[in-house]
Amino acid sequence: MSASIEEVSGEDIQKYYDRLKDDVERHGYHLNPDEDMTRDLIRGLIVNQRRNSYPSCPCRLASGDIEEDLDIICPCDYRDTDLGEYGMCYCALYVSGDVLSGEKAVSPIPERRPSPEERAKARAETGGAPVHAGLSKPVWRCRVCGYLCGRDEPPEKCPICGAQKERFERFM
């Protein structure tokens, strides 16, 4: 819990930035072109990674319990919906093509993440989703990128976006 923003070096940020930018662009996403903002956010991600061993959203309060925070590990479960609706994710690390080209400005957007009570309820409801009649396998959905696969268990890592197995939900 001791990691602080002052302990993150410019070199740490640059390394993370280069790796992320390359990865993001290969997958058809865009980082915020305002590098000051983006570096600031990456510093927050690095601090959260050091504190809790997972890089949760720098603009949301992490609980420190990975089970509770799976949905806000960057990229969060809400990124794609927010990119579609607002052209940027909640913290503005990811932006749409409109923002990248300068047609649309970066500005804060409302929080989409449900309350802890609503999240607990949703977990309880989807936990027991029945396999649809006629399907030979359950269908799993990656909450980060929407990838679907029909197999007994979700993959260890999403083959599309690289999200961990825990980020999958039973879809059908």
Binding site: M1, S4, I5, M37, D40, L41, R43, G44, L45, V47, N48, P58, C59, R60, L61, A62, G64, C91, A92, P108, P110, E111, S115
Partner: protein, 98 residues
């Protein structure tokens, strides 16, 4: 809330301004910068730096103003709450309380 958690920033008195922030959050940093540029006195607290019990107490305080407990949350004179980085509203509100 225990006052020892608060960091005071000197400036012109525009009423009691209390900023709840996260040290890691870019929008919170922009809010701090704006308040600094406006030259107003304010108190702030980085909630992510608190130990568990204090953090819970502070988040309960925030929820009274902002049930979703998002950051930044600015409470002015214990009567008005501005949620998120909102320079226009913040400036307008601080003019009014001038």
């Amino acid at each position: 809330m225990a006052d020892h958690n608060l960091k005071h920033i000197d400036g012109a008195d525009r009423g009691r301004i209390l900023l709840y922030a996260l040290s890691t959050c870019m929008w919170c940093r922009k809010t701090k910068q704006l308040l600094g540029d406006l030259g107003v006195a304010y108190d702030m607290i980085d909630v992510d730096l608190l130990e568990k019990q204090e953090r819970e107490e502070v988040t309960e305080d925030i929820k009274k103003w902002n049930p979703e407990c998002t950051f930044p949350t600015v409470v002015i004179n214990n009567e008005k709450c501005i949620i998120g980085y909102n320079p226009d509203e913040l400036q307008a509100e601080l003019q009014v309380t001038r």
